[in-house]
Symmetry: C2
Subunit: 171 residues, 2 copies
């Protein structure tokens, strides 16, 4: 199962850190690729630096005609939105399918066609919080926590400690 | 069980949205209070506006002497850090305790004494990602998803839809 994250409506400067966090969460929680409809070299640079230092493949791409992409995506299309159906009610059904997953994360103003283009509008609760949190919890539920056991083969890696910090770095 | 979030090392402007997201995640995922060691009226205003519109009690406080607070906290003290023990290995033990929880979220530079002051250093995976994501996944695992079924009694509330948006607003 391939998992692609589509970030819509990124705003320069204002969203730089949020979109970077979305990319880093996508990578750390087992997604394969981040697509954005708006290119931001600062976001790409931050994510690519982490990929280079911490390892493994993770793609960032730009997609101008995202509507066609969503329409033609061969798999389950899931839009994370506070207006959708509570994840507690729909995650079991979504998990039963082994098809590829497209997970859409909107910004402040999501074009309203997104709601009808997708197979699922999923709410990580119906309260306002954070698209970064929504993505992380969705992926953690989808992959049942296994994504956090994955070993990345990077130049940098952490040896987990009960108290303190231990970082190994290959030069 | 009372759950308090302590956000350390907030930086003005740069961290405004990240710290606001931390507060909103804390509220939406069942925590009772956000404490910060640095006061930022912009963050407080954003969170308080959500509380006012979307309901229920959620406290924001400032704590200058956070070390004493952590030392004297009567409950389990948990620091979320990529250097810690993988949540998959320690969450069952943490969940067994019904004591109050203090969850510490550091910024870019966490004072090193945090690691020794707490009972648990917990990693939501050992890869770099996002403190917002870490908090959300930790609370979702701690409360086993029940936090997302809670009904808030606010002026605004959402009627979940499979496709589309429905917001009810009392005037």
């Amino acid at each position: 199962m391939r998992t692609v994250i589509l970030r819509l409506g990124h705003r320069y400067i204002r969203d730089k850190r949020i979109s970077t966090h979305i990319g880093l969460v996508a990578r750390a929680f087992g997604a394969d690729e981040l697509l954005m409809d708006i290119q931001d070299p600062l976001v790409e640079r931050s994510i690519n630096r982490v990929v280079e230092e911490w390892g493994d493949g993770f793609e960032i791409g730009i997609i101008k005609d995202w509507k066609s992409y969503v329409k033609n995506f061969n798999g389950d299309r899931i839009h994370l939105t506070m207006y959708g159906i509570n994840i507690n009610e729909c995650i079991d059904k979504i998990k039963k399918s082994t098809r590829d997953k497209l997970i859409i994360i909107g910004g402040k103003k999501v074009p309203s066609d997104v709601y009808s283009l997708v197979d699922y509008n999923v709410a990580i609760g119906n309260q306002p919080h954070s698209e970064v949190a929504a993505l992380a919890v969705f992926l953690d539920r989808l992959l049942e926590g296994r994504e956090l056991d994955r070993e990345f083969k990077g130049k940098k890696r952490i040896i987990p400690q009960e108290h303190g910090k231990r970082l190994v770095e290959d030069s």
